[in-house]
């Protein structure tokens, strides 16, 4: 009884810290997912339709980024970019690293989804006189997006989880805040458990959102 009461009392004391940690986690993840998805669409475009040069460049980029641990990307973006004159604070560096990581995965997903569309779709779009940009925007992308959505939800959830690594460079996201609270009150188990629960809620929310969009976009009787 006394321990659970003490936990609740400490929770109350730490409520603003936890909320701000959660806010930072959501904000960094959201910005990284948005930026990463936008860049990822272009990476996927380059991988699918690029000429030799852009295709090879995009291929090197995705393979390099996907072959590097996220933690290394984060450390590199915080410590190495500074030495070449691009000085970012921990928050900016963290978002950059996560966005780069996200873009390489989204790029591959977009490539796979675009290649899964029957060739006749692009031909039919050409045949009615659409330019490449128009046929991509109105014919290919909407179909690729449907195909890519489940995989996109996975990547988004991965980004939220990877955002915990930003604690290493001192971004006060949910995990770092939790650790700071535990350092004060030594209640490791309940606070870690609670943090885990909050991460689950965020990712559950993303998953529900994905399912909702999937239903909205479903092509009837396809």
């Amino acid at each position: 009884m006394t321990t659970s009461f003490a936990f609740l009392a400490d929770m109350w004391t730490a409520r603003f810290a936890i909320l701000s940690g959660l806010g930072v986690t959501v904000l960094t993840s959201l910005l990284a997912i948005i930026a990463g998805s936008l860049v990822g669409v272009f990476v996927g475009l380059a991988l699918t339709f690029g000429n030799r040069v852009t295709r090879i460049a995009a291929r090197v980029y995705t393979d390099f980024v996907r072959g590097t641990p996220v933690l290394v990307l984060i450390l590199a973006s915080y410590y190495i970019l500074g030495t070449v004159g691009l000085r970012l604070n921990a928050f900016q560096a963290g978002i950059l690293a996560l966005a780069v990581f996200c873009s390489s995965h989204i790029g591959e997903i977009v490539r796979g989804s675009l290649q899964a569309i029957p060739k006749g779709q692009a031909e039919a779009a050409k045949a009615i006189g659409l330019t490449f940009a128009q046929s991509f925007l109105y014919v290919l992308l909407p179909q690729a997006a449907r195909q890519a959505l489940p995989a996109w939800v996975n990547v988004a959830a991965e980004i939220v989880k990877a955002s915990t690594l930003l604690s290493i460079i001192g971004v006060a996201e949910l995990l770092l805040v939790t650790q700071q609270i535990i350092a004060r009150n030594f209640m490791g188990l309940p606070f870690y458990f609670f943090a885990g629960f909050l991460y689950f809620l965020v990712n559950f929310g993303i998953e529900r959102f994905g399912k909702y969009v999937e239903r909205r976009l479903a092509i009837s009787a396809r």
């Binding site: 779709q121 039919a124 050409k126 045949a127 009615i128 006189g129 490449f132 009787a221 396809r222």
Partner: protein, 255 residues
Amino acid sequence: MPQLLAIKGLHKSYGQTEVLKGVTCTLEQSDVVCVIGSSGSGKTTMLRCINMLEDFDDGTIEVDGQTIGYELRDGVRHRRRERDIARHRALTGMVFQQFNLFPHMTALDNITLGLIKAKKLTRPEAVAIAERWLDRVGLLSRKGHFPGQLSGGQQQRVAIARAVAMNPKLMLFDEVTSALDPELVNEVLQVIKDLAAEGMTMLLVTHEMRFAYEVATRVIFMNEGRIAEEGDPRKMFHAPATERLAEFLKNSSFH
């Protein structure tokens, strides 16, 4: 009278394989020309060169007086800019074997897309045109249906409406009934016959010998990348001039 389509010395290779070995033919206004021949004879490739779905290596194609795909600059042959090629594609309408309707759009939106984006019409104008053509192919009541909710024959009729709605000078049909169940073939052929009767100029690659016989003003028989024989379908089908055509007709369903 100026020719609507003029193909001169068309050559096309895939790697080492030469699929078109110098094809020359012309179509005039309101011609309905059926291209027949066994598979691999180059008939579909020729059709696809006309709207640059395939690049070609040599020769010229003119549609309504405009040179398609390539231009000479200082005596050197250059591929035209993508924007010009897109504009030239609008001179022709194409219908495919596999329909290729956009599955994420309703029948109506399939037709309005090109009108709005390529022809820059307003949405109400585009809808009016699309509804008129859907009505013509007998599918106005299905305008809100997605392709997956339509039968193959209905999908192909929407695809024809999509192509004709762009008001092309020339319609290209690429084996448009080959993917259909036999009982759905006639509804599609009927739509094409109606268009022909109204004077639409068209070039059809087809295996429907009966249709070619009844509707074509001229038949082109292709063999190994060349036009082997061409002329009036009655003459050609009853008294083929070449051995190859006689053999082809014997093996195809026309009797």
